[in-house]
């Protein structure tokens, strides 16, 4: 059994399917994440309440985190493996190569957007996940008083830096681009193709990618716009 399992893991199709299924988990997470983030628009109580809810049962949170981390590691590991194999399969390059299939920028840059997103995730975790949600960083910059605004305050302070916000926007655009190809691709890889629905999946995939980029970008944009129009007060 284990020998067979090992053999299967080495199969090109299985490797791609692991990438697809771990990607699917990531997509689910990202959609939830975007939805959760949007609560920030409704003020500190909404987002902090949501955060508290997630932390209510630590065991569940850790199980979820483990699944996510495992998915991420597998996704990245197998993608890099597959990419290296693909490079090796085309030993010599063509002097001229014209594409006439459906290759586009999003597809060609999957590995780069993916790597960028990976490092961004590490950065993002140190930025928002690991820090203390009650410490001085959670006090709104420029506001009077020492009241902690919890996660809300942390995010607010962080996005007040315009370059940092721009970096975040760039990063989430990569996420969007990655998803726009990734979602349609994963359907093909796990074997779903339908003469009528596949076209719709492709469209939905592109729309979803754009929505994710937009949804994530809303937060820094909201913070900056609000801060520079209404000032630090909530």
């Amino acid at each position: 059994m284990s020998a067979k399992f090992g053999t299967l893991l080495g199969t090109s199709v299985v490797k791609k399917q692991i990438v697809a299924l771990t990607g699917l988990i990531g997509v689910g997470f990202i959609i939830g994440h975007v939805a959760g983030n949007s609560l920030i628009l409704f003020g500190p109580e909404a987002i902090n309440g949501y955060s508290d809810m997630l932390h209510a049962v630590p065991e569940l949170l850790w199980i979820a985190r483990l699944i996510l981390v495992a998915s991420l590691v597998l996704h990245v590991y197998f993608t890099i493996l597959v990419t290296l194999e693909n490079r090796a399969a085309r030993v010599d390059r063509y002097a001229l190569q014209a594409n006439h299939g459906e290759t586009n920028w999003a597809k060609k840059t999957m590995i780069y957007t993916g790597l960028l997103v990976f490092f961004f995730i590490l950065f993002h975790l140190t930025d928002f996940t690991f820090p203390d949600k009650t410490g001085p960083d959670t006090v709104l910059t420029g506001s009077e008083g020492e009241a902690s605004y919890g996660l809300y305050g942390l995010v607010w302070n962080s996005f007040l830096s315009v370059p940092r916000s721009l970096f975040y926007i760039l990063a989430v655009c990569c996420v969007g681009l990655h998803l726009s190809h990734g979602i349609q691709s994963l359907f093909q890889t796990i074997g779903f193709f339908h003469d009528r629905y596949t076209e719709k999946i492709r469209l939905a995939s592109n729309v979803l990618g754009a929505l994710v980029a937009l949804g994530f970008s809303l937060v820094p944009i909201f913070v900056i716009l609000r801060h520079y129009t209404f000032g630090p007060d909530v």
């Binding site: 090109s12 085309r90 006439h100 796990i190 779903f192």
Partner: protein, 251 residues
Amino acid sequence: MSTKINLTLKVWRQKNAQTPGHFETYQARDIDTDASFLEMLDVVNASLEREGKEPIAFDHDCREGICGSCGAVVNGQAHGPERETTLCQLHMRKFRNGDTVTIEPWRAKGFPLIKDLVVDRSAFDRIIAAGGFITVRTGQAPEAHATPVPKDKADWAMDAAQCIGCGACVAACPNASAMLFVSAKVTHLNVLPQGQPEKTRRVLNMVAQMDKEGFGNCSNHYECEAACPKGISVKNIAKMNRDHLVASIAG
């Protein structure tokens, strides 16, 4: 109506796999636009032979787009610029007087070079040998009408079975993947009732052999479908992925 054109050819010449190759430039003069691409190469080769030089080696046979022997990357496209057309059926009226045409062999680890534009595609035979068949000995067959085949299944099988094994899918794929070729055969046999008993073995064994031959993975760029002279659909790849998933879990 046909006219005559002159072309500059940049052709990959390579004596054998051990010797490094290079581009050689030739002038193709007075080429009739009604000639096929291979007939244009014939003309160039005849002039080389008259000069005592070795002609450009290229595989070809039926010259009517069905045997799958011919193929080269022409100006960066497998089988040249016309869709669903093998190199032998590409005609010179697709080119303009004075054009420069770059001609390269299929380049893939799974297709080692033999000479000039000729590559070794025997990997495809080994993949078929791994499972691209239905095990039925001569004489064992039941009456042909014993098993009806729904028309949509028969049509899908036929769509997939049209593959001519030319290798353009591998040549065009950025990863030199053979998924379109392999999936066309897996699908052809796996959708038919006759192919059901060996469905699981077939997909596992053929994919394993494909990997062993050094082809890359599919990253869903669909260059293969665009290059395929027979218009084989990438939906066959999805079908193979599905069969493989089921086979890995249940098989």
